[in-house]
Every structure is written in structure tokens, then in C-alpha cells.
């Protein structure tokens, strides 16, 4: 007979761990089983670049202290992949053939790197940069000075570039778009980051794709760019993008054209099956529709709400937005919501201070829908909060870009309510909208 668990969680990262925490807070008794394909206790994926760069030791990678699973009374199956889910019978089967019954199931399977079809790629021993194992491989292969070619200048590509540079490698990044971090940053901030990278010795080639690859053995090779330019490399890192990892959800019978779809309680279309994290398309309050925001805080928040709902406390997910915090070579940049307005109907205000100080807000009518701060980033969260709340900022519009912008600019009653609010947190969108600040 297969063992029965009250809760089964697949995935051992931001979403799954926060779901465990939330379940345990509400249900101290219910049995929990948690599967993680990787051979590690839960670690923080974004820290792999810090590890490679030597800024932290392996001990600093862990997201939770040693003894976490025991103290939470979680039956943790390390290095175990779940291969099949039968939602009607409420069972799952692992790669080793073990069968487990569950009463509610969380799919927190995350993302996988997207590998475009490039002629010659199959013959090259290339790397991706999405896991602790990838970090180990990069460490091993940059032990001697290497020429590293990174394809893609998104967050993961740039993190890989920074890490490889810290290892003493000669780094070149090739990006199809015209600038670095095209999604998270606007043009100005991209330029600033680019400048910093160039000063640090990283070459960035934009507006170019890799048209073909010629292997030279041992993972080395030559890349031919769209314009015919050639680049020799000792190590190739593919970082063109990520896709939600949905094979298990599809096996369970869910349609996943754009990630796993969930309702506001993180429930999928299947009874008893919940989903959270990068594999999921969930409400983006700024866009006003479900979207995949493959970001750690978003995955963690979804996991938390999935956990609460699995434990029987019905609380709707408040929604999130695209929030990015990056720092490259001493230049911090934070952004939230829409930083590159897709068309007309937006009001964009920017301010350039001295040095690297750059700020921008994006408004749609009287609603703040996006912000970006570079250089001096202190108190950026006040703006993120207003974005998240869809606050009406008509009365404070002129102060938004000021360094001293804060609660002092909000009407007294609103400010008092916020400050004395005991359950302060990400407040439900609507409260501030109705009232206007």
C-alpha cells in the first residue's frame, strides 16, 4: 500500500519551501512530503553567481538552516524526481517507481532554460547557468583563464558574465536585442549597466544572434554571428531565456500553453492540485491579467498563498508585478511594474541627479504603474508599494521623483492608517485606489 500524505509538494525551491512554511503555520499536524530533483537541500538559486564569484561560500547558499525539514516535520525526498501524477486517484509516482497518495498536491516545478536550435550546438559541451550544479561546472571550467562566450544579456546571462569575469575569464556577451537587460531595465539604465560592464572588461555585442557554431573539442569552439563576425571561445554559456517547466502538470492532464494556469487561490483546474512559482502564470496587478513573472519574490509569495489555501485558509493571492533588483559592478538598479511603456497613454517622468543617480516613474492617468531607480536606491519600496496597490497618486505626482519622497507627502489620514496598521504588508489593491493618496 502506498503511503498517504496530507500534503505533497513537488519542487524544493522558493515556491515549495514557502508553501511548506505556510502550511505548517496553520496545520502543525498534517503530514507533508516534499520532492526535489536536485541533490541539495533547498538553496537559493539566484545566489549561484555569488558562489562562483567567490562572494559567498557553499554554506551561504542554503535558503533555510540545517535541520529545517526535521524541525518542520517534512518528509524530504532529496534527488527524487516525480515522474507522473494521477489527479483522479490522487497519487504520484517517482522516477524510482515509488507511489505516494496525497490529499492536496503542489506543483512548484519552476523553470527550465530555453535552448534555441543553433546549428552545431549539439556537438558542443555548453553550460546553462540555472543551478548549483551549473555553478560547479562553471567553477571547474574557469579554473584556468578562459574565454567565455555568453549568449543572451538577460538577467541570467549578465549574472553569468559577472561571475565568469570574477573568475578571471575574458567574457563576451552576445545579445539579439539592442541593449542589455532589455526586460528589467529601460534604455538609460541599460546604458549605465553596459558602461559599468565595459569598464570591468566585459565585451558586449548587441543586435547580433549566433547563427552557427563550430566545435573545436573540449567544449571549445567558434561562434559565427549574424553579420558574419567570428568569436573563439573556451566555454559557451547559453542564456537566451527560460520557460515554465510544465511536463508534470501536462502529465497530470492540465493544459499549459502559457505556464500552469491557476485561479486566485493558486488552484489549478484539477481538484486538490495547486501550483506556484515560475511554472505558473498568475495575476500581475499592473498588467491586470495573469502573466509569468519568473522572479524569486513572486515565486515565494505564490508559494506562501498556495500553502495557506492548501491548509484550508481561503485567502486570495494579492497578485504581484515585475520587480527586479540588480547590481552590476557597484551600480544598483531597482525596477517595478512597467518600465518600458508599450505604447501611448503613459506619462513618463525621469530625473537625472549627479553621478549615477537616475530615477523614472511611469503613470497611466493618475495611477503609478512603473518605477526605476539607479544609483541611489534607498526607499524605492515606497514606490513599489504604491504600484502594487494601484494607488491613485494624483496629489503626490510632483513629489514622486524626489529623494525625500515618503509618507510625509501622503494625506495625513492615509499616512496614519498605514503607519498604525498592524497587519501592514502588501496591502490589497483597491484600498489606496479608492481613497487616493
Amino acid at each position: 500500500m502506498a503511503a498517504t500524505y496530507r500534503y505533497a509538494m513537488v519542487g524544493n525551491s522558493a515556491a515549495a519551501i514557502n508553501a511548506c512554511d505556510a502550511v505548517r503555520k496553520l496545520d502543525p499536524e498534517g503530514s507533508i512530503i516534499l520532492f526535489g530533483e536536485e541533490k541539495y537541500r533547498c538553496y537559493s538559486r539566484p545566489l549561484i553567481s555569488y558562489l562562483v564569484a567567490g562572494q559567498i561560500e557553499s554554506g551561504g547558499m542554503y535558503y533555510r538552516p540545517p535541520g529545517y525539514y526535521r524541525s518542520m516535520r517534512v518528509d524530504f525526498r532529496k534527488g527524487t524526481r516525480v515522474e507522473a501524477v494521477d489527479a483522479a486517484k490522487r497519487t504520484l509516482t517517482t522516477a524510482e517507481g515509488e507511489k505516494v497518495r496525497w490529499r492536496s498536491l503542489l506543483l512548484a516545478t519552476g523553470f527550465k532554460p530555453f535552448i534555441p536550435p543553433v546549428p552545431g550546438l549539439e556537438e558542443i559541451d555548453y553550460l546553462t547557468f540555472v543551478s548549483w550544479d551549473d555553478a560547479r561546472r562553471m567553477l571547474a571550467r574557469t579554473a584556468k583563464p578562459a574565454r567565455v562566450l555568453i549568449v543572451g544579456a538577460g538577467l541570467i546571462g549578465m549574472k553569468a558574465a559577472e561571475a565568469a569575469e570574477a573568475r578571471g575569464a575574458k567574457v563576451t556577451v552576445v545579445e539579439k536585442m539592442e541593449r542589455v537587460l532589455p526586460q528589467a531595465l529601460d534604455e538609460q539604465a541599460s546604458r549605465m549597466v553596459w558602461e559599468r560592464c565595459r569598464e570591468a572588461g566585459i565585451d558586449i555585442v548587441t543586435g547580433q544572434g549566433v547563427a552557427g557554431l563550430e566545435p573545436r573539442g573540449g567544449g571549445k569552439g567558434k561562434a559565427v554571428l549574424d553579420d558574419g563576425g567570428e568569436l573563439e571561445f573556451d566555454l559557451l554559456v547559453m542564456a537566451v531565456g527560460v520557460r515554465p517547466r510544465v511536463e508534470l502538470a501536462e502529465d497530470a492532464g492540465l493544459q499549459c500553453a502559457r505556464g500552469i494556469e491557476v485561479d486566485e487561490y493558486q488552484r489549478t483546474a484539477l481538484e486538490g492540485v495547486y501550483a506556484a512559482g515560475d511554472a505558473v502564470s498568475a495575476m500581475d496587478v499592473v498588467l491586470g491579467r495573469p502573466s509569468i513573472n519568473a522572479l524569486w519574490p513572486v515565486a515565494a509569495l505564490q508559494g506562501k498563498y498556495a500553502g495557506m489555501n492548501m491548509a484550508g485558509k481561503e485567502v486570495p493571492y494579492p497578485g504581484c508585478n515585475s520587480m527586479n533588483a540588480v547590481e552590476f559592478f557597484g551600480l544598483p538598479v531597482l525596477s517595478a511594474g512597467i518600465v518600458n511603456p508599450p505604447g501611448d497613454g503613459y506619462e513618463v517622468v525621469t530625473r537625472r541627479g549627479d553621478g549615477d543617480d537616475y530615477r523614472k516613474v511611469v503613470l497611466q492617468g493618475d495611477v503609478l504603474v512603473g518605477m526605476l531607480m539607479a544609483g541611489r536606491i534607498e526607499r524605492a519600496g515606497i514606490l513599489t508599494g504604491l504600484i502594487q496597490e494601484r494607488a491613485n497618486v494624483r496629489r503626490v505626482k510632483n513629489f514622486l521623483l524626489e529623494e525625500a519622497f515618503g509618507h510625509i507627502h501622503l494625506p495625513r489620514s492615509v499616512r496614519q492608517e498605514r503607519i498604525t496598521e498592524t497587519a501592514a504588508g502588501i496591502m490589497k489593491a483597491g484600498a489606496a485606489r479608492d481613497k487616493g493618496v
Binding site: 514557502n18 537559493s44 539566484p46 545566489l47 555569488y50 562572494q55 559567498i56 551561504g60 542554503y62 535558503y63 533555510r64 524569486w296 519574490p297 515565494a300 509569495l301 506562501k304 520587480m323 527586479n324 533588483a325 547590481e327 544598483p332 531597482l334 517595478a336 536606491i377 534607498e378 526607499r379 524605492a380 519600496g381 515606497i382 513599489t384 508599494g385 502594487q388 525625500a404 515618503g406 509618507h407 510625509i408 507627502h409 496614519q416 498605514r418 503607519i419 498604525t420 496598521e421 498592524t422 497587519a423 501592514a424 504588508g425 502588501i426 496591502m427
Partner: protein
């Protein structure tokens, strides 16, 4: 015998906060003369969270709270050394000022703290017993995600020791947080919740 709890209104920050009378009577006097609530444990041994509430009608904008916060979080805890010879830690309280109005604001130790959920490394945590939200500088990598999500702007880069953030920790070594204790006009109140 069942105890009868008497709830009384207490004037705090322009609003009346309702608190058990027993709590209001259990107060200690501090040198400055103000009365402070004593922390009580509930049946589960949990402490009630203390929050610092600003009173803008009393704040004179002198920023002494900021100064004493810096001193309290410095190595020597000596005002001259902290400002002159040591690497100066960041202030964890900020006085906001506009025209005649000012008040001091620090971390609210939120119930559902966005910074804790968002933290990439697990460095930011909420003590389940005291409700205090603190950052472990040993685990913090300085990714600034918490700065991005804190709706009160209560987290700052604190690169005095290493790349990490600093925020209000309610002064664990002191009975009364330094900002509250050193406010000359009682514009910061300790409120038990």
C-alpha cells in the same frame, strides 16, 4: 475564576489604541520620566510585539533619534567614535519632514512582512515568538530585493561591514530602543500590540 479584562483607550499617535487596563498599569518608569509598558507573555509564551509609533504633533524634527540609532548600532556605541573614527553604520530610522510637519519612521515589523517573503537568501526573518523582523548580516548578500519591496522604505544599504542591509531591530540589547529613549519630546511611543 475567569479574569475580566478591562479594555481602555490609550491616546497614541492621534488615535486611540485600545489596550487591556492590566497592561497599562504594569508600567515602568524610565529616567526621562515617561511610562513604558512592560512586555507580557501570553499563554503560549509568546511576547506581544512592541511597535514604535511616531506622533507627528510632538516631533520637532531634531533628528536626535537618527543620531542615537547610528551610535547604538556602531561598534563602540560611543557617539564621538561612531561619527568620527569608525565606519559609520546607517541610520535605521528616518525623519521625514515637509514644511512644519515631521515624524520619525522605522520598520513596522509587519505581520506579513514583504521583505521576509521576498528575501533571496533567507537572511531576513521574523521571529515567531517576538514578531521582530531582523536581517542576519552573515547571510545577507546585498541583493537589495528587500529595499525594492519594503513599502515603508525602512531598509537601507549598510556597507559598514560588508555588502548587506540594515534595518530597525528594536535594539535587542536595550530595554527601550535608542530612538524612543532619546527623543526629547516623546514623539516616539512604544505601543504593545
Amino acid at each position: 475564576m475567569a479574569e475580566i479584562m478591562v479594555i481602555v483607550p490609550v491616546y497614541a499617535y492621534d488615535v486611540y489604541v485600545y489596550r487591556p487596563l492590566a497592561l497599562c498599569l504594569k508600567v515602568t518608569a524610565r529616567p526621562g520620566g515617561a511610562l513604558l509598558p512592560v512586555r507580557l507573555e501570553d499563554e503560549e509564551g509568546d511576547l506581544d510585539l512592541i511597535r514604535i509609533v511616531p506622533r507627528e504633533e510632538y516631533c520637532i524634527g531634531c533628528r536626535l533619534c537618527e543620531i542615537h540609532c547610528v551610535v547604538q548600532h556602531s561598534k563602540s556605541k560611543n557617539i564621538i567614535k561612531a561619527f568620527k573614527s569608525e565606519r559609520r553604520p546607517v541610520k535605521r530610522v528616518e525623519v521625514e519632514e515637509e514644511g512644519h510637519v515631521s515624524f520619525a519612521l522605522q520598520c513596522r515589523h509587519c505581520d506579513e512582512a514583504p521583505c521576509v517573503t521576498a528575501c533571496l537568501s533567507g537572511a531576513m526573518s521574523k521571529d515567531p515568538r517576538t514578531g521582530v523582523v531582523t536581517n542576519d548580516p552573515e547571510r545577507c548578500v546585498g541583493c537589495w530585493t528587500c529595499i525594492l519591496v519594503c513599502p515603508f522604505g525602512a531598509v537601507r544599504r549598510d556597507e559598514a561591514d560588508k555588502k548587506a542591509v540594515g534595518k530597525c531591530d528594536l535594539c535587542p540589547d536595550l530595554e527601550v530602543p535608542a530612538c524612543v529613549a532619546n527623543c526629547p519630546n516623546e514623539a516616539l511611543l512604544l505601543v504593545e500590540e
